[in-house]
Structures are given as structure tokens and as C-alpha cells.
Symmetry: D2
Subunit: 336 residues, 4 copies
Amino acid sequence: MSLRIGIIGAGAIGTDHARRITNTLSGAQVVAVTDVNPEQAHTLIDGLQLKAQVYRDGHELIHAESVDAILVTSWGPTHEEFVLAAIAAGKYVFCEKPLATTADGCRHIVDAEINAGKRLVQVGFMRPYDSGYRQLKQAIDAGEIGAPLMVHCAHRNPSVPESYVTPMAIHDTLIHELDVLRWLLDDDYVSAQVVFPRKTRHAHSKVADPQIVLLETRKGVRIDVEIFVNCRYGYDIQCAVVGEEGIANLPEPQSLLMRKDAMHYARVLTDWKQRFIDAYDSELQAFIKDIQNGALSGPSAWDGFAAAIAADACVKAQDSGRIETIEMPTRPAFYA
Amino acid sequence: MSLRIGIIGAGAIGTDHARRITNTLSGAQVVAVTDVNPEQAHTLIDGLQLKAQVYRDGHELIHAESVDAILVTSWGPTHEEFVLAAIAAGKYVFCEKPLATTADGCRHIVDAEINAGKRLVQVGFMRPYDSGYRQLKQAIDAGEIGAPLMVHCAHRNPSVPESYVTPMAIHDTLIHELDVLRWLLDDDYVSAQVVFPRKTRHAHSKVADPQIVLLETRKGVRIDVEIFVNCRYGYDIQCAVVGEEGIANLPEPQSLLMRKDAMHYARVLTDWKQRFIDAYDSELQAFIKDIQNGALSGPSAWDGFAAAIAADACVKAQDSGRIETIEMPTRPAFYA
Amino acid sequence: MSLRIGIIGAGAIGTDHARRITNTLSGAQVVAVTDVNPEQAHTLIDGLQLKAQVYRDGHELIHAESVDAILVTSWGPTHEEFVLAAIAAGKYVFCEKPLATTADGCRHIVDAEINAGKRLVQVGFMRPYDSGYRQLKQAIDAGEIGAPLMVHCAHRNPSVPESYVTPMAIHDTLIHELDVLRWLLDDDYVSAQVVFPRKTRHAHSKVADPQIVLLETRKGVRIDVEIFVNCRYGYDIQCAVVGEEGIANLPEPQSLLMRKDAMHYARVLTDWKQRFIDAYDSELQAFIKDIQNGALSGPSAWDGFAAAIAADACVKAQDSGRIETIEMPTRPAFYA
Amino acid sequence: MSLRIGIIGAGAIGTDHARRITNTLSGAQVVAVTDVNPEQAHTLIDGLQLKAQVYRDGHELIHAESVDAILVTSWGPTHEEFVLAAIAAGKYVFCEKPLATTADGCRHIVDAEINAGKRLVQVGFMRPYDSGYRQLKQAIDAGEIGAPLMVHCAHRNPSVPESYVTPMAIHDTLIHELDVLRWLLDDDYVSAQVVFPRKTRHAHSKVADPQIVLLETRKGVRIDVEIFVNCRYGYDIQCAVVGEEGIANLPEPQSLLMRKDAMHYARVLTDWKQRFIDAYDSELQAFIKDIQNGALSGPSAWDGFAAAIAADACVKAQDSGRIETIEMPTRPAFYA
């Protein structure tokens, strides 16, 4: 039986997920759409020639009998409300990041889910579904590099608009590393520090760019993440895990090896959408299969909560210039 | 509407395609299966928990009203018969290679399809659906390396069983290069030569290994393909296109970059099944979408015929030690 | 005319330099040797079949009329004394690191040299003579990557003996980065911080390994250096300079590209002596040529002093766990 | 004692070798120069501030008492005469390629040297002194890739002048592969074939470019060499040896690894002089050391003769389009 999905938020990402479900993935169909702008909902449906119904709002959609599971792809500040409503209705819900705009909001969702007695929420962190990160985790878990000691990361964008300000380096950019590194290392953060190198001449006035975030984990792993969002040359995600026996680096995206113009080169992507395109497919396919099998396995509400707490500490460290402690509550057995 | 597919041949590859259609791809379902061994058909259906019917033979399945399109994954010598039957029934058919065991057999299919007045046949050459080869074609077509002048290829397997004899280097191994290079260069072969280097000590007595096949195309491109099926170290497919302005190499499969044991290394695959796993998904997804859109675009019966003619010339060249002419009939406008 | 060189200290490194001058380099010969163990001096001379005289001590050698220039390769604590004596004698002197065992000692040498009114001292920092670092400096100076903003380094050894203790990570290991990065960036350090990741199980009890040293420069460049001296897999020196327009990485040492055993690999060196073997030749050849041309251009006494000051701050930061300020005196015009 | 060298031919390469001996190498000095244009000889001497004498002609220089060894860097057609004269005078002689302009000429030199009873001649094939090729030979000799079965080579230049005509692809370009591959494989050629791909639009009218030369050796190794002298993108020398257990590729020249302009790249050289600059140093240093040790070990007159015979067969194959046999006389014990 095909899983019947309702989408709250028919913007770019909601439309993209609808296309994915309809044309690429197996086992689901979009049957319901809603948006604060109803025309947008109709545009989504017409563009994909869906047989789907438009609902007045998210709550109506969540309660519709024909809807088995929910995708929350609306404006960030509305996420918490709709996820809580889906949990209350006992329906599976895939929520794009952020799970909530505050750590407290995430905590509410965690509490509601625990009360519901069953994992219903998956957060839209796609990196654990990237084939490169999966290879990396597999190598670590297989002991190929021994116990991880250090992780060197870079998160680089060619440029950002003027609306991108310093704290967004944490909430919009680093948030992906904060999630994926917890998963990769099976670990939690205990402290954060941020240092600011000389600012690139290509950065707008409201953003300190680049930044280096230094994290320490419970197991003693030291992580450095270079965030450089006006690096010019490309969208480039690097991750090297240094272990007791060796080092594993995230693979480069597949590219032709060219010899031309006095160079031996491979392309670096410039558009972030291309970098994790397969991971977006995989995360949603996993959500669908996991529902069919009756147990979610992807990034949980707890993972969203943990990333939010770490992000808050990093923003504090941006301001203070000091090493900030990250107080992470004990993980409930529910999320073990 | 989901495309209803019937599968003739419930062996390893038929089962794999059924799994793919059921769990991974969008827009189709398996509704019918047949096999010379009916138990095999039931095993396939049970393993995937399909609601599908078992038919007595391929012809019955082809004519079943509930079947929209056919997959021929039976024993090679039966392909021609079932493809011709599918054409006669006016149904789309995806046929695993070989399209027929002889060039004449392929010609019969080509003629039947032309008479039917509509492309109904796709041959299971998956390499044109590999993302690496697609990048390569895109670069060539965009003029990035100028006019192609030479192509250097290697097709290496770690080992082959004793049943693998010298001509299989052409029919089972080179056949993939024969297809994909025609597509890549938009060209046809005019001559073939085979030279035999010193034989590796790891080859069985009935196979000359390695071999080097030298091909010349209508446009004057010179191709060399090293076939080395007991190379020990891995399953490795190389393709470098040398053009007037530069060179493009097929990407290596994505792999972690490791530093360990006094080496800086990436893995080389050892199992051919992993190398083109995404291409198998894509070729079948394209077949399904193309049917929904009413026009096939993948490897055609003509492509199967052309590869068969070239393969026959290569086998002749293995025996003669001479440069053998490849007489390729003019491509009918139907396949333009 | 061949430059007549006297060597103080006939141990491993003195003997190696003697071999280099005799068999590899152009324009110089070893005419005098001394060692606290006179037999050692004779062994050096006999091994290379030199026509050279053995002197009773360094001072006698320094004052010998037949000696044009001095190589100080004796025990570290004696360096300052012999370098000062050479300056007093108005002779050029190449001193292996450390220039002196304390920053104060280095300062004495700097003062003596300024008083002598002429550059006479070259310190044995060989990395600025490595062809890879030279390419890196050339690219930076040519503006290929724009203004440097960050530098990510690693200094890894396969293992160290039990005698290697925590502060040696600075004085024996990091010292090379402290020198070469000043030269590379044409900059000075203003602060240092050291963080200690989880310790590798392969480290002896008296050494914290790995360590990460964070440096800040006057121009605002942020440098991180991973020091990992029991990394097991090899001797590996990494240096990536991130600039406003792009990134330049130190080349890997030249190595065969192998395909074998399910891997695609290049060798990583395991012996540090091989890594900079050409740089050792080049630094001494430059010393000889520069003397013939009448002006030294290599690492100066000031460079030795600056590295010593930075090293002292790093050791302090190891102990304090805090960000330590580096107070670098203004560079005298003499060393501009 | 410094070896006293006389140079016959003060053109570009003679001047370069003089500079090398004077400024870079150990153990020799230039004491004599001659040139058909005496002014050229004086220019060489003045440019390097040498204390050297100008001789009226090569024969006078060869017989001068003050000259220990000869460098022949004059016009190709004069090589045979001067090498024979040096042998007659019992003096060591380093002769730039070609040893003689014909295989017969080379044979005369071989015969004269055998009669002299001592190896006196080294031919200026520098590739066996390239560190990359030496690593390759070491790996082969150590059995790392098992018995060699195939070699895939490319010899690419960015462009050639109009004076470069089709046979020069053999005599000026392939000649280096013909020499180095014999040495690398410790083998001899038995047949040659040349095929002509579609001609690049960048080639002048008198040169077929690219060409592919196919060689077979006595041990059964099959070699293909792509010669592409208007490849545009760079000067690029490739050599992959495929063995029974694995493959070894010649290292790429050392280069920065850059990330810039949406690419991940390393430079490819464009000037052939840079590619083997270290090998030129090494071949001449070896010549000097070998004389001091009393026994030459570099490329011999026999190697020059063998390369000439193979080159003649390749030119014949260019014309005939056929597989041409290479009749190589048995190697005299003298050259074992």
C-alpha cells in the first residue's frame, strides 16, 4: 500500500519533496497540500499533475483521514506547532530543519513524543544519508582507523547574500556538522569555542567570515570546523577523521578528471543543491520505508534538540570569545 | 497510473529487477512472472511479497491483458523469440543483453520493430545510464575537449571462472565498451584488431588474458581497450577520451580517501555488481518513464544489432590476427 | 675558489653534511673537523676520504686560517658559544637548530651579529628550501589565492621514543612550522593556544599526543597545527593555506600511483629523513653560493630568535590551557 | 681530484651542461670548449666566468692533455666522428642523442668501443635518471606488480613548430620511450606498428598528429605509446606498467594542489625543459662519479644502437601501415 503523504508548505522545498515522492521514490504519493498562500498549493499540485486535495491549513491537513504521514516544509517558526499537532494526532511527521526555532521548542517536541510512546518524528538532516558520510561511518564503526581523536572539517559556500549575518554561520551552516558529527562519532559535545580569522574582503559588513569553531566531545575528540561562506571557489564540504590507526576523508563528489589548459583537474560544485541531491532522496525514501516497517530510524527529535543546544552554545561562544560549556541533558532511554 | 510489468525469467537478474521495481523505482509494479522452473517464479513473488500472477510461459505472459510491458531476463538463446513476440503483441519490452545470440537474430528484431512502426524495444546496456559516463558524454557534447581523436579504455576483472574462454572477452566483456563507446562518440566502428600480450600466470588454460582490442571508427577515432579479466586487484573500468583541446577521464567510483599503513589510498571495487548499481536503477527507471511519456530513448534494437556486428568482427580478429573490417549497414531513419 | 668549511660536531648530522658537501654540492670542501670525541672526527674524515685536519676544539677550528666558514652540528647546548665565537672571528656560520637553547641565547647572537655589522649566521631550518613550500610561497606571493586567512597544518610522525615528552612537541616538532609559516606568510605570531584531544593508545605515558596548536598572526591569520607523533601510518607533513580567492596545499611527496590489492594508492613516507632530503641539499648549497656572492639570504639569527620566542609561548600555553600572548620585539632594520 | 671536462658544441645544451657542471654538480670542472663558431665558445666561457681554453676543433680538444673527459653537444651529424675520436684517444665521452644519425653509425661506435676493451661512452638518455622512472623500475624489479604484461604510455607536447614532420615523432619524440622502456623492462623489441587516429586541427600540414605506436617485446609485453605533439594542454609524460599482480604509474610531477575557480587542480607543465631538469643533473653527475669510480653504468653505446634500430623499424611502420619486425642483434657480452 502506498503511503499517503500530506505536505504543509508548498514553497521551494515542499515542491521539491513532492516531485521526489511522485517521480523518484517508491512507496508513497502526495494526497494533500496546504500553504498560507493557497494558490501556491494549487501550483504545486498542477505542476506535478497530482490527484491531491488542498487543505485550508496545517491542522486540517494533519487530521484528514486520507493522510497517513506529514511533511512539514513551512516557515521555520511554524514547525513546532505542526509537529506537536502531528504527534497529538498519532501521525508520522518529517520536519525540515529547524525542528523548532529554540532548544526549548525542541524539548517540547521530545517530551510530547516520549509521552506518545512511539517515535513519530524525523528531522530533515540529510547528511547521514549521504553516501560519502555513510562510507565514513562504516569505516569508523568497523575500526578501520581506530578510535577517533580529531575531526577536521570545512563548510564552504561560494558566497552568501547580505541577509546572512554572523550567527547564521551557526544556525544555518554549522548546524549540519553539529548533527552529522554526533551521528558519525556516536558522541555528544561538551564545549565550544569560536575564533575569527582575518575577514575576507568578499564578505558583507554584517558577517564575520571566515570563522573557526572548535568543539570538544564527551569522549575527548577535538573537532575544528572552518566555516567560510564567501570562499568564492565553490561549495565544498570536507571532513577528515583522524584516528589512532589512520585517517579517513569524506570522498570528493564524483567528477570527471580532466587534463586541459595546463591543469589536471576535477570540478568542485558551486551549487549546494547538487551536493546532497541523492541524500535528499535517500532520507525521504528511508522515512517512507521505515513507516512501512513500523519504526523510524533517521534523525530524531532528540537529535534536533541536541543540535539546537550545541548551536546555542556556539552562538554564545561567538559573542564571548570564550570556551563555552555545552550542557547536554542525558539521552532518554526512549532514544537509545 | 502504475505501469504493470511482466517478467520472463526469475533468475538472479530477473529477481534483482523485480526488487528494484518494487522497492526503489517509481511508477511501476510487477504483476506477472514466468520461468522455465515455475517454483523459481513463486520464490521471486514470495520473496518480495508481490501480488503477482505466475504464467505458464513467456508467450502467455506477453499476451496477458494485465501486463503493460515485458522484461526479458531469461536464458540468452530465448531472448529473440520473446522480444519478437512482445513486438508482435505491440507491447514495450526491456531485454537484457544479448538482444539475440547472433547479429542475424538482432536484425530480425530490428526489422520487426520497423514494421511495427514504433520503438518498443530497449536493450539492457546500462553504461549510458552511469553518472560517470553521462558526465563524460556531456563534456564531449559541450565541446570541452574538442573533437575526440583517441579513446583509451580498460576493462578489468579480478578473476573469471574456468568456463570463461577467449571469445567471451568479446561477447561478455568488451560488449559493454562496444555499446557505450558508440553512444559516447556518436560514431560507428569500421575496423577491429586484437593483440595478445604475454599471458598472465593467473589465467586458466582456455583463455588468452589479457587482450588488447584496437578499434577504428568512421570519424577516424582510434580506440584501444585493454581487457584483463584476471587482473587480481579489482573490478576497474577506465575510459579516457583524448580530444583536440584536452582529455576527459571517467570518474573513479566514489570512495573514502584513507591515510593508513604507509599509504594514501582509495578503495577499488572488487565486485562488478557494485560498480553499476545506480546505472541499473536508472536504465529501468528511464524505461518506465519513457513508456509513460510514450517514446523510448534508451539503447535500441539497432544498438543491440550494431554491438553484435562489431563483436563478431572482434572475434574474427582474435582468430585471424589481422585487422578486420566491420561492415555496418546504414542506420535506418527509424533509429535516427 | 672552493669554500673551505670546518665542521664542529662529527655526529650523524655533521657527517651527513660533510658527505653532502663532498659528493653532491658544488663550490665547497671540508677542510677541518672537530668533535668532543676526536676519534669521531677521524672516522668522518676517513669515511669520506677527505684531506681535512682534525682540530682540538671548536674554538681552534674557528680560528684556523684555512677555514673560511663554519658548520655547527655539535650538541645543542654548545651552539650559542660556537656561533658567537664565529661571529667574533668574522666568519660565516651555519648552525643546526636550535640556534641556542633559550630565546635569550638567540638574542645574544642577534645582538652580536648586529654589532658585527654584517649577516654571518644561517640557521638550519630547511623547510624554506623544500620545493613544495617554495611553490606554496610563490603562489601566495603571486596573489594566486588572494590574502591568506587561515592555515591548516599537520605534522605527523609514525612514532616517537619514550624520551619524547610533551614539551618536545613544541621544541622538536612544531619548531619547523613556527619557522616556515613566518617565512611563508611574511608575518609574526601574536598568540598561541594548545588543546589536547583524547590521547592515542599508542603514546607513551609522558607525552600528550596528539596536540593541536592554534596560532594567531599580526595580520590576523589563524593557524591550526595538528601535532601527532604516534600516528602510526607515516611521516606526513600537511599545509593548506586558505586565501580570499582559493586554497593552496603543499604537494604530496612524489610517489608511484599504484593499483593493487583492491586499492588505488600512493606511498606515504615513514622516515622523516627522506621527506626533506632535497631541502637539506638546497639549504647548504644556498649557504655556499650566498657566501660566494657575499650576502646570506637564508633563515637568519632573527628567524631563530623569533621561532624560540614563539615556541616558549606555546609551551606556556600547553601548561596553562589558556590563550597566551606572544610578545615579539620589533624586527631590527638590519634583518629587513 | 676534479674531473676536467672538454665540451664540443657551445650551443644551448652545451652551455646548459657547462652551467650544471660549474654551479650544481660535484667533482668536475669545464676546462675546454670548442664550437664551429669560436665566438660561441668564448660566450659560454665568459658567461660562467670559467677558466677554460678554447680549442680550434673537436679533435684538438679531444687530444688536449688537460682534458680528462669529453661532452659531445655539437650538431647531430658530427656526433659519430667525435665519439669515435674520443674512443680512439681512450677518453670517456658523454654524447647527447643521437649517438649517430644512423643505426650503422651507432654500430661503428659499438664496434670501436668493444675493440677499445672498455666502456667509454655514455649516451644522453636522461629518463633512466628521472626519479619517477627510477621508482617505477624499483617497483618492477622488486616484484611489486609481478611480471609486466602491458605498458600504456603517452608523450604529449603542447605544440611543435612547422619544421616538425611525421618521422620526427619517432626520432625526436618516441626515441625517449624506446630507450627508457628497454631499460625499465630489461627487454628488447621484436615488432612495431603505427596507427594514425584522426588528425587534430591544431597540427601543421606535414605532420600526422596524433600517432599511436604499438610495440611488442621479446618477453611478450605489449606497449602502446600515444604520441600527441599538438595536444595544447601541456607537456605530459605518462607511463603505466600493467603487471600480473597490479599496476604502477609514473608519478605526476610535484605540484601544488589548488582549490580555486570551481576546480580542484594541479598544474601540468607546459615546458619540457622543466620536466626532466633533475634528471639532466643526475645523468651528468652519474657520468662524473662513474668515471671517478672507473666504470660507466649509464645508457651505453649499445643502448643508443638498440634505440636506433627500433626507431628505424617504427619509421618503416609509419610508411607501410604494417606490423614491422625489429631485428635486434644479440647483445655482446661486453654490454651485459
